[in-house]
Structures are given as C-alpha cells and as structure tokens.
Amino acid sequence: MSEALKAILVRDLKLALRAGGGAGIGVMFFLAVVVITPFAIGPDMKLLARVGAAELWIGALLASLLGLDRIFAADQEDGSLDLLLMASLPLTLVAAAKGAAHWCATGLPLVVAAPLLGLLLGLEPTALGAAALTLLVGTPALTFLGLVGASLSVMLPRAGMLVAVLVLPLAIPVLIFGVAATEAASRGELFSAPFRLLLALSLFFLVLGPVAAAAALRHARD
C-alpha cells in the first residue's frame, strides 16, 4: 500500500514539474505580488519593513490558491480518478498523497522564495528567517484546506475561482496566526502562542483535509 501511495506522490510531482504542470506559476505570482507592493505603498523602507511580513503571507496565501482546482479535476477528466476510486487503497490516503505532492510542488517553493522576496521589502534577517519558518509551518494548512475545495468542485469545469472563493474565508485564521507568529519570531519569541496555534491549525487541516476530500469525492460520483 505504501508503494502505491509513493507512486501517486511521485507521479503527481513529475506531472507538476514537467512542462505545463504549473508548479512554477505560484512562485511567479508570489514574486509579482511582492514586487508591485513598493510601487503601491511607496519607497518608504521603514513602512515596507513593517508591513513586509504581512505582505509575504498575503502573497503566499494568494499564490497557494492557484492551481488548487487541478488537484483532482485533472484526474477526473482523464479517467484516472475512476481507477483510483476502484483501487484497493483508502481514498483518504490517496487524497493525502495528492495533497502532499501538491504542497511539495507549489507550497515548498513559496517557502524557499519567501526570504529572497523579503529582501525586496527590506526585511531584517531575523524577520526573513521568521517568515520562512512560519510559511513552512503554515502552507501545508493552506494546501490541505484547498484539498477540500478541490474535491468539492471536482465535477465542475473551470472551477479555479470557485475553489479560491471557497477556501479563502477558511484560510483567514491561518493568515492571522501566521502573520502574528512571524512578528513574534522577529522579536525573538520563536515558540510564541500564535506559532503554536499555527502549528495546531496545520496539524488539524492535515488530518481533516484528506478525510473531507475523500468524502466529497465519493459523494461526487452520483
């Protein structure tokens, strides 16, 4: 069973990283959001440094919404999902493997890019590290929350915007605690209360996401 789940994870990673897979789009969007911020706010370095952490989180949140709708829809369209449903694998674990692959292809690059983009906003080195750390802990929550939206809209064509609208309100707690944890970590309090709450949210969605997604996928079969 673990071999089969590994195969799903590896296949989804390959598909995301090859031409047309869309793994790079999230990072490009993240870059675009961060780069246009100084044009809107103005070249006030102090102000930019103050809003920088929040800006990184907003950019990462929006970027992680891109491509969520393809997690299950691509497999639905070519019939792979039917075969995965018929495989003797727990659908919850299949959904978890697909979520993990999606995070590796789209979430992890955001975490890596965040400190570099933070430089553009004039963040202090500690704040750069803090943003990367909180994004590392927080982006899995966003991806696995998105798994639920992706499974609910699996039968709908061009559901990208719908998934974003479904997921965004539920992602607000992750954003709040993510930004609060980043600010606390920049002050040197690494394991602050917001950071622990962010960790709890991530663990919660890591479990709830695949279970809810599997239930939605079964329901979508008429």
């Binding site: 089969a4 195969a7 799903i8 598909l15 070519d78 039917d82 079969r221 008429d222």
Partner: protein
C-alpha cells in the same frame, strides 16, 4: 467467483436507462453488452465497477474480497493516460497502484508493453501517441493490474486489425484463466463472448 446482477436498474439525471436487468456470469465467461448509443452500456459497466449506485436492484461479485470494484479493472473512453509522462511511466504508475511493485512489477510492465506492441515507444511521452496507440496503452493496464473482472467499454475503438486480434486473444486468455469479462461493444464480432445482452429497445 461469479458476477450476479439482480433486477438491476439505472437512472441518470432522472432518466431511466434500463431496469429489471438480470444476469449471472460464472468464472470463465464473457458477456457482450450491445445496444444503441445512450442505452446505458457505459453506465452498466460503471455500476458493476461500483462507480455508480444502482437505482434499484443489486450487482455483486461473489467469491471475491472487498468491493466488486477492487476486483475489477475498467478500460473506458477516458484512457487515464497522462500526456506528460512517458509510455513506460504511465504503465509503471498503474502497475504500482493496482498491481505488483518492485522487480515483479517492472517485468510485468515490460511484458505488457511488448504484448501490445508498444516496446519501441516506451521512452516517448504519451502525448506523441496516436488514438490507437493510446488505446493499446490503456489495454496494457489490464495485463499489469491483474484483476479477475475486466470491464471493457468499446475496447476495440481506434485499434487496427492487428490490435483487434491482440485484444481478442487477451480476452480469450483472460477468461480461459478463470476471469470474467464484460465487454460493451457495437459490432466487434471478433470478440468471442459466451453471453450477450442487448440494452435499449425494450430490454
């Protein structure tokens, strides 16, 4: 192992496709399902595979573990082929998910590719395949998934004469090894079926 359908009825979007369908297939039998477009041939296969719920009646695979779908493999109109992966990667993936893994799996993948005449294309991305070659790749999955119940939806579409022959040999070998095949087909007289039902037109 036997596949039993009793008083089976199917509705799609409020429209009744068929009802009161009953058949009984023992191991080593093949059933050909015919009927005009929209008669419910694909829906019947999806019902058997557990991808649709019957509106009435039941269909069950006796003598197999778990759900009927887990003992079945479906080759349908959607070929479950990823264009970005190579032919070999496509088959290896389904082999790992549905069949054997490791060395046994690799050998099975090679054997299946050569059985369907795809060995020379193994390293090419699936996007370069023609419709008939894609169908051959989808059929190769049957040989690596090693399920006892084959659900084939128009398996011969797009195949050349040689491919049709390979397909009928595959089905014949499968049922003589104690498998069951349910084949939805318009014509395809070359597929030797022991039983036949016709959907639509008063069925």
């Amino acid at each position: 192992m036997r596949l039993i359908a009793e008083n089976l009825g199917c509705q799609r979007g409020g429209r009744t496709l068929f009802r009161g369908l009953a058949f009984r297939l023992e191991a080593g039998e093949a059933l050909r399902v015919t009927g005009p477009n929209g008669a419910g041939k694909t829906s019947l296969l999806r019902l058997i595979g557990g991808l649709l719920a019957p509106a009435e009646g039941r269909v069950a695979l006796e003598g197999a573990e778990g759900r009927a779908g887990e003992a079945a493999h479906l080759v349908g109109h959607q070929d479950a082929i990823k264009s970005a992966l190579t032919v070999e990667e496509n088959l290896e993936f389904w082999c790992a998910v549905l069949g054997a893994t490791g060395g046994v799996g690799l050998a099975a993948v090679e054997a299946a590719l050569s059985a369907l005449g795809l060995s020379a294309l193994a390293q090419f991305p699936a996007r370069v395949l023609s419709a008939g070659q894609r169908r051959r790749l989808a059929l190769a999955r049957l040989l690596v998934a090693k399920r006892r119940l084959w659900l084939l939806d128009e398996p011969g579409s797009g195949l050349d004469a040689d491919g049709q022959k390979t397909l009928s040999h595959m089905i014949a070998a499968h049922i003589s090894a104690g498998g069951i095949a349910v084949v939805a087909a318009h014509g395809a007289p070359e597929i030797s079926a022991t039983r036949e039902i016709r959907l639509g037109g008063g069925a």
